[in-house]
Amino acid sequence: MVLAVENLFIHGPSSSGPVAVVESLTLALPAATTLALVGESGCGKTITALSIMGLLPPGFFITSGSVKLGGEELTFLSKTELRQRRGKSMAMIFQEPMTALNPVMTVGRQITEVLLTHRVCPPSQARDKAIALLGQVGLKEPEKRFSSYPHEFSGGMRQRVMCVMAICANPQLIIADEPTTALDATVQAQILELLRELQSQSGAAILLITHNLLAASILADRLTVLYAGSVMETGPTAAVLNSPAHPYTRGLLGSQPRLRLGRDALCGIPPTLAAISGQVPPPGRRPLGCAFFSRCPQALKDCRDNRPHPVSKGPEHQAACFR
């Protein structure tokens, strides 16, 4: 098991003092598999990723729960020990490729920096290894790319450079925080396929953070659906998409307009989408019991006060719902 997160609580600042942003989050990520953490904005998925990497912004802190990377408890590590793990045993790819690279440093140097810091290879071979990696992720003329600056790259190419920086110290875990949100549809597909290829070569586990349930299905073996800081449902991708066990997942799938091709396109467009009413309650104002209570069409009486525990709905498929 590469990553094991148990009962994680994270609190963040707000006008009325610290507020729970992530509540009792549990994740399990074996090697060479991909887990997608799916949720709307403001549900705490990015904060979870940053807490694993130890890069929580000021004002946020882990209040309880354990985060184990390769069996080692990260919350007990000191600042320097955690820093040594970053980049070496766990790496991260960010959302905005346009601003994620240092504009005044050549791309090559930003890659060799990782190789040298973690002593992946002696300084003499660093340049060649970086050029090889650039070619491996599909960039044409890697030598020229090595010595050019980030502003000469398109969004897709910069995201490939980010992938190189992530895998060059061959970490056990790669966290990708919405890697394709800021890219075009065609480029998105390629980056997701690139991630899959890198995983098959390096055997690393990938934690994919995304707000889009359907994009995750291309890459992810397992899905965890997050809503307002707590886990609603988790299970294999096919099971969650085809037989969603939690009303929120059902609502999400129903509300996204599906592309109908071929003969299906001819049978007319459905008038309205099955939208979920209301909006996501901000951290300070979440209901006591089930977080989805205020918007759930099939809410029961006791959903309001006590929080539902994960119930098994199929092989390795759980949902936190009383229904």
């Binding site: 398109s154 890219l183 480029v187 597909a189 592309l259 091709l261 003969r263 396109a265 989408l273 939208a275």
Partner: protein, 403 residues
């Protein structure tokens, strides 16, 4: 009542838009001779990746930026030549819904002023009635009248977009241009806004020009679709015809990138290439790039279970080539072509041949109502239908499940 509807309510002829680039020498042409017309009360979608010029077309139609050439007319009234007071007199007839709720509302104006200002500017009703009309508008977009006195930062993202829509309806327009109205919103809220737009369009009888980079949203919301690539309108057809089987390789590439069903994706890849690196290093339209905050990739509704990720096997490739042979076409083997100045602007076209490089293709109506800018339009549409036919057949399903 329908026959009195104007056939071509909004007509755009040979529209050119170019931006002076910062360096000052070569100016960047975002829109190259786009032309289309929208019948009254119909919704037309413009789809394309960032830098395809769809937003620039919308801004030009709204006369927010100056088109370098071409003509735009709304309900018979020629807009391109109007300026100053005459143009301002026409403005209430066409309004715009913007993408980013955070920057489309004046942070220092309360909701009541945001709604009454347009009414005041076009002299609609008296000052006393306007607050009542504003209250009514809020109700129509699903906001309570108590939020009349609030500032934009006191609304959530979805509610702010409802306020933007209410403002667009304040001057009772006939045409609404919606530039990526739902792209900056979350999935659940997105559906609410799409439903709201649909119902308002029918109640107010609006004609809508709907801009989006998202095929699923466009298929749901639009009657007609136009696909744009690097400033050119490369395909236009009613939604059913286009999505049943497009007739341009770029549209297929867009489709194959948006499809999340693994089996169909591999099938499409063998014919139309594996989605294309949009190698445009320079970012032509920074605003469009910034507009891509939360894109949504729709999924192909399949009858069989969605299979998990595995690589393609020989049997599938054989099955596809077999079916194409029966349909009398030979596999147009995908070859990536490098560059090319004149001729078809789709540089990475997997089906490119010598002729494509030399002749400048023209948007031709190869089938009634279906226009495409590709020489092989009919051929591509037929082969595409065959592949889709195969992909949705149960036999193909087992094969992908087995692989």
């Amino acid at each position: 009542m329908t026959d009195s509807l104007v056939k071509n309510f909004l007509t755009v002829r040979d529209l050119w838009v170019s931006y002076p680039s910062r360096a000052g020498q070569d100016c960047f042409t975002a829109v190259k001779g786009v032309g289309f017309d929208i019948p009254q009360r119909r919704t037309m979608g413009l789809v394309g990746e960032s830098g395809s010029g769809k937003s620039s077309t919308a801004l030009a139609v709204m006369r927010l930026i100056r088109a370098s050439a071409g003509s735009i007319s709304l309900g018979g009234v020629e807009l391109t030549s109007l300026t100053g007071r005459a143009l301002r007199a026409q403005r209430p007839k066409f309004q715009m819904i913007f993408q980013d709720p955070a920057s489309s509302l004046n942070p220092r104006q309360r909701a009541v002023d945001i709604l009454t200002e347009p009414m005041h500017l076009c002299g609609l009703g008296q000052k006393s009635q306007r607050i009542e009309m504003a209250r009514e508008l809020l109700a129509q977009v699903g906001l309570s009248s108590s939020s009349l006195m609030l500032f934009p930062h006191q609304f959530s993202g979805g509610q702010r977009q409802r306020l933007v829509i209410a403002r667009a309806l304040a001057t009772r327009p006939e045409l609404v241009v919606a530039d990526e109205p739902v792209s900056a919103l979350d999935a659940a809220v997105q559906a609410q806004i799409l439903n709201l737009l649909g119902s308002l369009r029918d109640n107010f009888g609006l004609t809508v020009l709907f801009i989006s980079h998202d095929l699923g949203v466009v298929q749901h919301a639009c009657h007609e679709v136009g696909v744009m690539y690097r400033g050119l309108l490369i395909e236009r057809a009613p939604t059913e015809k286009l999505f049943s089987a497009p007739a341009h390789p770029y549209t297929w590439a867009l489709l194959s990138a948006s499809v999340t069903d693994w089996g169909l994706r591999e099938a499409l890849k063998t014919i139309f290439g594996s989605g294309l690196e949009n190698g445009v290093a320079a970012d032509p339209d920074q605003k469009e790039k910034a507009a891509r905050k939360k894109s949504l990739t729709p999924n192909f509704e399949t009858t069989q279970p969605v299979s998990s990720t595995r690589s393609i096997t020989k049997s599938i490739k054989w099955a596809i080539s077999g079916c194409l042979k029966e349909s009398g076409g030979q596999i147009l083997n995908p070859r990536l072509s490098e560059d090319g100045s004149e001729g078809c602007n789709f540089l990475q076209c997997p089906l490119a041949e010598e002729k494509c490089r030399t002749q400048e293709p023209v948007l031709t109506e190869f089938e009634p109502g279906h226009l495409s800018r590709c020489r092989l339009a009919a051929e591509i549409r037929r082969q595409g239908q065959a592949v889709l036919e195969l992909a949705s057949s149960p036999a193909f399903g087992q094969m992908t499940a087995a692989a």
